[in-house]
Amino acid sequence: MESVFFVILAVVTVFSALMVILQKNPMTSVLFLILAFFSTAALYVLLSAPFLAAVQIIVYAGAIMVLFLFVIMLLNLNRIKEEGSPLLKALGMMVAGMLLVIAAVVIRSTVIPSDSGFVAGTEPGFGSVEAIGRSLFTTYLLPFEIASFLLLAAIIGAVVLAKKKL
């Protein structure tokens, strides 16, 4: 059952990711990006990470995508067309394809020890809000606080950049 869901979600994710980079219209492209984020959230559920799935939908499919669509509609980018040399385009595709081949070969040839977590499943409560919160507020307390500073810096940076006179 899990394998059927995995295959369906993997196909949907890869298809929508391809559509993101192949669509001419930026609006369609971003809508496919939302689909890719939703199917990734479903993959998180398969990986016994329900909290991550919820956060993924709230932060990515909610906040970030609203920002993307807002900017596209604000700037009215639909009429801008892009032309690039087909040689550079083919070269870029080739480089990315070679990267994929290298990564696939490395992943297939690496023996990762103790492949038991996927077979036996995890203990109950793994990936729950309680488990993540406990880890986040004890072991990872300092990085958590630093992340809040990062978000503050991002807010200030966005406000400064959006001012009328730069």
Partner: protein, 101 residues
């Protein structure tokens, strides 16, 4: 067992390379940004797969930090794109080559 760690890693690598292809081939700054989000998403998937593999919740914590960084990056990046559009009336990256050579 079919969906093992390797299958998730290969899916993650495929998504990452699709994102890389988008960054390398497209000229629209917004689409390049979306491709970067795809690449971040692929890395998050690999983190979650490893967390499940080792039965350790630290991988999922890293995904949360990565989400925070992605949110900050999108806010600043889209502000830069809006500022750029105000100056140049374009989001084509070929029009923004002041710092190129």
């Amino acid at each position: 067992m079919f969906p093992s760690l390797n299958h998730y890693l290969i899916l993650s690598a495929a998504l990452f390379c699709i994102g890389a292809a988008g960054v390398l081939t497209r000229k629209n700054a917004i689409i390049i940004f979306a491709s970067i989000e795809l690449m971040l998403n692929a890395v998050n998937l690999a983190f979650a797969a490893f967390a499940r593999h080792w039965g350790d919740v630290s991988g999922q914590i890293f995904v949360i930090f990565s989400l925070a960084v992605a949110a900050a990056e999108v806010a600043v990046g889209l502000a830069i794109i809006v500022a750029l559009f105000r100056h140049k009336e374009s989001v084509n990256i070929d029009d923004v080559n002041l710092m190129k050579w």
